[in-house]
């Protein structure tokens, strides 16, 4: 079965280099540009890894992560990578502690390569 990666990110200019890079590594990428679509796509496609931005239109990334975690058994276990540029406040920290993402990545602090490495480390063998 092909491993799919879901990217929920509203900024086209951030999403496109990431998608290009992942495609060049022969990984199948699904894209959503808002929280609502991201959540629906996660449920219908059941990707192997989910990348979530925090500030998104419709529903925030933290909310989407919570909804996925509460949805079912698959949702409890699927690796979620938070990919954001936000300064973590108390609300975000609580979400991180409760919903246990695999990684919390600050975009501006990471190279494209290191993000892809982290995604790969979450993929099942």
């Amino acid at each position: 079965m092909e491993k799919k990666i879901l990217i929920v990110e509203d900024e086209e200019m951030i999403r496109s280099p990431l998608v290009q890079k992942l495609n060049s590594e022969n990984l199948k990428v699904l894209e959503a540009d808002n929280g609502d679509d991201g959540f629906q796509l996660a449920l219908t496609e059941r990707p192997a890894v989910i990348l979530l931005d925090i500030s998104l239109p419709t529903i925030s990334g933290m909310q989407v992560m919570k909804m996925i975690r509460e949805k079912d058994e698959w949702g409890k276990k699927v690796p979620i990578i938070i990919l954001t540029n936000l300064e973590a406040n108390d609300e975000i920290m609580d979400g991180v502690v409760n919903d246990n993402p695999a990684y919390y990545i600050v975009k501006a602090n990471s190279t494209l390569e290191s993000v892809v490495e982290k995604i790969k480390s979450c993929l099942p063998l």
């Binding site: 951030i14 280099p17 938070i82 991180v96 390569e113």
Partner: protein
């Protein structure tokens, strides 16, 4: 004269048996009130001042009452003209202050909600600023990552992209520094301390700075330890502290130099240090090193760094928030920055630490 004497005795008895208890209880009430005020105003300096003033005023009054009581026991004729007025004024003061304090308490609640509101506004500002400023910078960074990965670009293009990349990194760092300072200046730093492996924090900081280290052609010697070294700290602040002093050494060490990292675990404190082989820091700069916007002038001229002098000020604040201290030693052949962080012990509060390998900014 006889009537006066009866009255004086009656008043003396009243003051001794009912006056004193009322005054002591009133004193306790006022102290309690001031502590409540301190708490409900969000434990500000103002609240502390109110407690100190209340206690010191009460002590003065108690001393005065004590002296008056002794005086009254020695000379009963002094009771009505001297001692009685003192106690009456005292009663009056306590009654009026209690009434005002009750009113102020209600205001304190309003004041407190204003503080909460301001703190929320601060969080919102930081969120918007960090997002708005970093998003385009990330976009540039990742696009350059793609461009630089392309084997077909010429050497000339590679050089240009590298320059843009380095400048972009400076902007990213500047934004981080501004956000850190905004966080420090607008309120206290919230720490979430837990069991953290300092080696992971060092690796995370190194990973963030790796592109810059490679582009400066510098060599970084990692600490010679292969086991985890657990400290009790806020992971984000710890990683940020390591990142800041490492970044400082990258800047001041200069291109093509070596930077050495060291970790010395201890029973109570763990010491982390970074050594660079850049110019010596003049003695005259010592005082200013960890202050806001202080720049080491010699280095400023010789290396020509433009990025502000906030890094060490931020690092000092973060290191201290984690319960450690920061200092440095500078010689002709290089400078070493040290900081300590409390070692992890079983007795430490086991708050859940961040699961992330990356730092939370």
């Amino acid at each position: 004269m006889y009537i006066m004497k009866i009255d004086a005795e009656l008043i003396r008895t009243m003051l001794l048996y009912s006056g004193w208890p009322v005054l002591v209880l009133g004193g306790f009430f006022l102290i309690k009130q001031s502590i409540n005020f301190y708490k409900s105003t969000g434990k500000t300096v103002l609240g502390k001042l109110v407690i100190y003033l209340t206690i010191s005023n009460l002590l003065t009054m108690l001393c005065l009452g004590f002296v008056a009581t002794i005086y009254m026991l020695q000379d009963i004729n002094a009771v009505i003209p001297i001692v009685l007025p003192i106690f009456l004024v005292w009663f009056l003061v306590i009654t009026i202050v209690s009434l005002i304090a009750t009113g102020l308490d209600k205001q304190a609640i309003v004041y407190n909600s204003t503080i909460t509101e301001l703190s929320r506004a601060k969080d919102e500002f930081l969120a918007i600023a960090s997002h708005q400023l970093r998003t385009p910078l990330t976009s540039i960074k990742w696009s350059l990552d793609m461009a630089l990965a392309n084997k077909e670009i010429s050497e000339e293009e590679n050089k240009i992209f590298n320059t843009v990349y380095k400048e972009n990194e400076k902007l990213i760092e500047l934004v981080s520094e501004l956000l850190s300072v905004a966080r420090i200046e607008t309120g206290k730093i919230n720490t979430r301390k837990g069991k953290v492996d300092i080696m992971i924090a060092i690796q995370d900081a190194y990973d963030i700075l790796k592109p810059l280290i490679q582009k400066n052609n510098q060599e970084v010697a990692m600490p010679n330890i292969s086991t985890p070294v657990y400290v009790g700290a806020d992971k984000m602040l710890l990683t940020e502290s390591v990142k800041n002093i490492l970044s400082n050494s990258i800047k001041f060490g200069g291109s093509n130099t070596k930077i050495e990292l060291e970790v010395k675990p201890g029973r109570k404190l763990c010491t982390f240090s970074v050594t660079n082989h850049g110019p010596e820091i003049p003695e005259t700069q010592k005082e200013k090193m960890f202050k806001k916007f202080s720049r080491e002038e010699g280095a400023h001229k010789s290396i020509g760094q433009e990025v502000g002098g906030l890094g060490l000020y931020i690092t000092k604040t973060f290191v201290e928030a984690n319960g450690g201290t920061i200092w440095y030693k500078s010689k002709q052949d290089g400078t070493t920055f040290f900081f300590t962080v409390p070692s992890y012990t079983e007795s430490m509060d086991r708050e859940k630490s961040l699961p992330a390998e990356q730092i939370v900014k």
